[in-house]
Each structure stands twice: as structure tokens, then as C-alpha cells.
Symmetry: none
Subunit: 231 residues, 4 copies
DNA sequence: AATGAATGAGCTTTCATTCAT
DNA sequence: AATGAATGAAAGCTCATTCAT
């Protein structure tokens, strides 16, 4: 599962990547919309290339081929355009297809593996952005709060899933659901961070998925074939 | 185990936190040594308070009660004094007391728990510094390289330990040692990062230790009492 | 002749005082042009007053009544604004009115004297700037190269003129044209440098012109009235 | 003759390169003398390598292998050590062997050529130092005054020599001795400056000597063989 | 006589932000 | 809506000079 989203339906209660209330209203005219979009795209390019810290607003406006004055028509500053970049990328970063709590528990292994694969692939697709997210979380308390809220929401979701696995006799009943969920989510997100965001590349995505799935199953006490424990 | 050090003896082959070649020679006179120490201490205080990015050299010299010129007598800039802070903290951050690869495998559970506890406590003691380390790794490629080298060295060390557990009949022989080691180390370091560095505080250190130990044992396929698998 | 320019037409092949490729594009708006001009004028004032070495950018911006930030909108630093000052002064420093190679050789004396007078007067008008040029040439290798290129181009031009004088029977045929041109150019430029740039003022401009013309004519073997040698 | 010295006897009335009154008394102890010498030698090395402007006192003390404190025991600052360097080099820069005013006028050509050769060779031997002298003269008014005084003294000396040549029937009686002397001295010093100090190297020393001698003889109206004019 | 740590004024440079056009 | 010139606080860094040891 990991700290990431599920299907559209299920992700409704998961906090977004950004505090959307801080973004201004979208421009009314089509021209304005185009300009804003160009700025967001340019900002993503520049942030990914230079990092959040080392990028300057003039780099962004140069990339967007507009003036610095125009930038301030749409955003209050670097922080806000960063939020807009994250909002635009949100849909792709929060991968689709995670099992819902009340989904069938048959084929637990397959479901878990698919979910982990979806997470890892989404992470890899947006590796630079994930690094940025991490970087900004260490700097800006606002973003840090969001990051924490998201991680907690995922852990709670996963904890409920683990509870169900325990109730149905799949998972080790001794485990405390929330801490276990926290630990297991952490494992995958950290591996992905190292391999893709920090670009260590000591494992392929597939190795990571296989390893994570195996360790999760073992850790939760689910037999490797995903069957019930005492079966 | 996790990505962190062990006893002095065992940590000999683990990369340090900083590229020591980049630090100047230590001052020869006692007075110089005192001043340098005051600067390093002041830098730690300021970095912990304001973060690496938001701290200024004048804050550091004000804290150390010396002039900015004196700072440049000992360091080339912010980067270098940061390296010195890390070097000074190194001994305490790399917690003591981890089991050596060829240590007895009796009481695997106790040994593992003690090791995890040592890691978590060292992490907590230096929580702000660990946040800094993470922050700087997202910014400075040099520090990032060191971070990666350290993580890999720990994973390899832990992989060797897992291999031994497999050979002796404690651990699931199907697991690939290196990826498993990576995953399990990641789990603990990420939990500690969230709880202590990002100050989420959703778990106490003790909960974290217990959870991690339990999940490791399960994940490696070691019975909860630390006995052999088929015993 | 000396190491200085002639009329626009003739000076086409003479290197300029500055490496123009190093100057940025001129500002597009009239307001920008005005500001830039004010900065160049202020820089000239400050350089002439304090010398290149002892002048500070803040003096220049104070004189131009703008902020230091504005300075950096137009120039990269002291070097570049110096180049701009020289470029602006170039037209006046490279005095007009020197005889072209294929000009009539009648009245050699008058022509030579007029040419020398034009040089000396232009030098005197820009005495402080000439001192600056000399100062910067001793410091900055780029400017030194330009200075050398200019001096050589002038010497070559003068050498061709001397050749013609030899061919037509005016000048001593034994002289080697290039070294002779070099020596005679040097004489006038050094005298002007001492009297006007170093402010020795041991000769008036007119004395200098008369002396130089007389010595040139003698040195080249041309009779004092400018007639042919054997006439 | 050019603006440079003659034999010890004749140079008695020529100003020195430095204002010796500004130098402190020499150290009394042999150890002190050695240290001071080392500093002067180091300063020359550093000045020649980096120029006056770009050299720092710490470079000099590093080169002399002593502390910056020691430097201040012997000199008041950069200016003063520069004066000491010049004083030490003075003997070699002011070449020996120039003809005295009341020397025989037979072999005028040989005498003049020898004198010019001595000047050019001395200039070339100390090319970097001559560049320094020029550089400092554009910056420091004290040094400028000395430079001017020296040039004037030489010109006056040469003017007296020219007068004698006129009286004895060698030189063109129409020439004004002082301005002519000024012009001819300038010629050689400027050529040497360009070729050796600015490192243009477009003439060899020998070409320069031959050219200068020939132009002087012509300019003064002395027949190429050095005989009397109407002879 | 020699040391070298400490000083801090003084300079350059950056860049988010404003605002008149 | 768009422009981009102007701003100036803020930060980094240098180096001649002092002085206690």
C-alpha cells in the first residue's frame, strides 16, 4: 500500500499534495489560462532541473517566455507556483488502482503486488518531483504539515486494511495495525526515494516490488501464496 | 540494523558522514582550537534552529561571539562548517552497540531489538541534525553521494548478517539478502525520520522499536521468540 | 601619425579600444537607454576622479543617482562599465583628420604636422581617460591585448606611408619602414602620456607638435620644407 | 641616451627610483637583515608574478616563509615593501656605462649605440619590474612624482649633450635641445615598454637598438657615420 | 624578533518584489 | 494582461592591520 493514493473513489479522504486554499482563483480569460499554464509548466521544468532552492523566478519566466511582472499576476511567489506545480502533477503522482478496504481479500498477494507496483511506477515517473517534495518539506513548515497529514492518512487507511486481514484470519493477530502500517509504508517509500529520487538505482522497480511484496506478506504473517494462515 | 553504524570495531568499513578531505587542518594553537570549536558549536545551534538554507554566516559568528573574518580563518563557507558540524556529531549519531556479523545468533530477537533501540535512540538524540542531513542531501550532490554510499554500505553489512541467518536456519532461505536488507533498513530509518526529524511524533521510540523488531522477525521468517524456523 | 586613428574611412581596419562583444545589447526602451547613459557618464566621472582601481561601484551609482541593482541590470561589473566608457569616448579619442596612405604627398610637412596636432589635441582632451587606459592595460590582460593590437595596426599603417615616402623619393631609403614607424609613433604617444596623462606639463601641446614634426622629418630624412631629398 | 642612468659618477644627479626617506632604518642584527632580505626577495617574486594590485601581503609572507606580523616589523605596508624592492633593483635597472657629457664626441654613433644598447638590455632584464613601475605610477601620486622627476632629469642631461653636439657642429642647430631630448628619450622607452613590459615582442632588442640609433642620428641631423654635418 | 589569531570595514553580487507605463 | 526597469536589503567574502603571546 505505502503512503500513496488509491482509486478516485477511495482517495477522496486522502489529503492532497498542496494547500489548495492558498492558490488564487484561476484566470477567467482563455489567454490568462494559457499564460498561467505556461508558467506552471515552466516552473516544473526549472524546478526539476535546478531544484527548488537554486531556481530563480527569472529562470521560470524566461522559460515561460513572459515577463516577471506577468508572473506576479498569477502567483504570489515561488512557494505558490510550487504548489501549483504539485497540484497539476497530483493526479499522476497519486497512482490509481489501490485496493479498497472492503474489496475482496481473495488473491491478497496479487492485489498487494499490483498496488505496490502502481506506487513504485508512479514514484519513478515523477522522481524529480518527489525529490522536490522531500526538499521543500525539510524547508517549509506548511508543506511539512501536508506531508505529515498525507502519510498519516495513508497509514490509517492501511491500518484498517490490516485490521480486516487480521479479522478474516489472514494476518498475524498480534500486530498492532497502525504502527505496522506505518512501518510497511515507510519501507516502500524510502526504497523508492533512494533508488529514484536520490538516483542511487541499486534496484530496479521490479526488484523493489517483488522484495516489498514478499516482506509485507512475511511481516504480516500471510503465507506466501496469500492464503489464510491456518489453512 | 538499519542504515547506521555499529560498535567502533564493526563500523570500520562504513563511510563517514562527511568528506573529511574537505576540512582544513585543525588549528595548531589551543586558542585557535577553542575558537574553531566555538564556531562549530554555534553553527550546530544555528543550523538546528533555522535549518541549513535559512541560516546566515553572521548568525553563526554572532552566536560564537566572534567576527566574520574569524569564521573565514577556519572555514571556507557554509558548506564546510556544516561538514565540520557533522563530523563532530558523527560519533554520537552512529550509535554504538550493534551486533557484529559473526556474533552469536542465540537470542536473535534480543540482539535485534537492542540494535534497533540503539539506532532509534541515537536518531532521536540528533533529530534536528538528521533533518539537516536529509535537507542538505537534497541540495548538495557531494553530500548526496556520501549519503548513498553510507546507506549502501549498511545494506551490504546487513545483507551479510541475513545470509548468515539463512545459513544457520533462522531466516527464510527464499529471500534475496541485499534487497531484503535494503527494505528493512529503509523501514526503520523512514519511521525515525517522520517521527523525530519531521516531528510527527505519532509513535514513541519504544513503540517504534517494538514494531520494527516484530516486523523484521516476521519478514525474515524468524519465529517471534528468535528460535530456529523448523525447531 | 602615431598610434591613433584617422578619418572614419581610413580607420576602418584599426582595432577599437574595447572588445565590443563583451558589452551587452543596448536596452530597448528609451528609459533604459537613458539610465544606461547616465551610468556610463557617471562611471567616466568617477574613473577620471579616482582612477580605475580606487573607484567603487557605489560611487558610480551614487553619481548616476540610481541603485546598485540598476547598475547590474546593465553591466556585469567594473570591467564592463569601463569598456562601455571607453567605447563611448572612442570616437573622440581616435582623432579625425589623419592623412590617408594614398593621399597626395605634396606638402608632406603640413600634412604631418596637422596629423600630429590632431593626435596631440585628442590626447589632451581625453588626458585622464588615456591614463586610465594605460592603467588598465597594466592590470587586465584583455585590455592589454587590445592595446597591443591597436598599436601594431597603427605602426603597420604608418609603415606603409613611410614606404610610399621612400618610393617617391621623400624618405631615407635605408630605413626599415615598420621599426621606424614604431619608433616614431612611440615618441609622440610617450610625450603626450607624460605631459598630459601624468600631468608633467613640461611642454605645451604646440611645442610637442612642432618638436615631433621636426624630429620625424629629420628622422625620415625629409628636408625641413617637405620637399624631395635630392631636389 | 634615453631616460635612464649612466655610470656611477655621472648618475649622481639623477633621482633614484624611490623616495628613500620613506624606508625605515635597516635592521641592526644579522638575523633581522636576513629576514628583511627574504621579504624583499619574496615581494619581488610575488609582484612580478601577480602584479602590484593583485598581490596580497599574505602571499609575500608565505613566499618568505614568515608570519604577517614579521612583515610589519620591517615595513609599513605594500607601498613600502614595493619601494624596497625597487631600491634593491635600482642598481641593475639604471644601466651602467653611459657617456658623460664631457666625453669625447668622436665616434658619436658608436657611443650612442652603446648607450642605447645598455638601456635596452637593462630594461629587458627587468621587464616585469618596469611594468610594475609603470603600473604603480598610474596609481600612486608619490611614485608618479619620482617617475616624472627622473624623466625630466634625464631629458635635461640629454639636452646638455645635444647642445654640445650642436656647438661642435654635429647636430642640427635649429633644434631646441630640451624638447628634442624629451622626444628621443621617449621613443626608446616606449618601444622597450611595449616590446618587453607589455610583452608584445614585435622587435628584438638588437632591432630596437639599431632603429633607435639610426632615427636619433637622423633626427639630430648627424650624418650616419657620426661625422660632422658639413664635413 | 617572531607569531598568527582576531578584527571588521568595505566591497561585490543576488534576486524577490514593486509599480509606472 | 503584460511589461521590465528600478529597487535595496541581504548575504557572501577579502585582506590590511592590530596586538597579545
Amino acid at each position: 500500500m505505502s503512503d500513496s493514493a488509491t482509486d478516485t473513489d477511495a482517495s477522496r479522504d486522502i489529503p492532497t499534495l498542496v494547500d489548495e486554499s492558498r492558490l488564487r482563483d484561476l484566470p477567467t480569460t482563455p489567454r490568462g489560462a494559457r499564460t498561467r499554464e505556461a508558467l506552471v509548466a515552466a516552473a516544473r521544468t526549472v524546478f526539476e532541473r535546478d531544484g527548488y532552492i537554486n531556481s530563480r523566478l527569472t529562470d521560470i519566466t524566461a522559460e515561460a517566455k513572459c515577463s516577471i511582472g506577468t508572473f506576479y499576476t498569477y502567483f504570489d511567489g515561488k512557494e505558490e507556483v510550487f504548489a501549483a506545480v504539485m497540484q497539476a502533477a497530483q493526479h499522476d503522482m497519486l497512482h490509481p488502482g489501490l485496493p479498497h478496504v472492503d474489496e475482496s481479500l481473495e488473491n491478497v498477494r496479487e492485489i498487494l503486488e499490483a498496488s505496490n507496483r502502481a506506487y513504485v511506477e508512479a514514484y519513478q515517473r515523477n522522481a524529480r518531483l518527489n525529490l522536490l517534495l522531500e526538499q521543500v518539506a525539510t524547508i517549509d513548515p506548511e508543506f511539512r504539515k501536508l506531508r505529515i497529514a498525507r502519510a498519516r492518512a495513508f497509514a490509517e487507511r492501511n491500518a484498517r486494511w490490516i485490521e480486516r486481514l487480521q479479522e478474516e484470519g489472514y494476518a498475524d493477530p498480534e500486530l498492532e495495525p497502525y504502527p505496522a502500517a506505518r512501518g510497511l509504508s515507510s519501507m516502500l517509500s524510502r526504497m523508492a526515494y533512494h533508488a529514484f529520487a536520490l538516483e542511487e538505482h541499486d534496484m530496479t522497480a521490479e526488484e523493489m516490488v517483488r522484495t516489498a511484496t514478499r516482506l509485507w506478506l512475511n511481516a504480516l504473517g500471510i503465507p506466501p501464496d496469500g492464503s489464510k494462515r491456518d489453512a
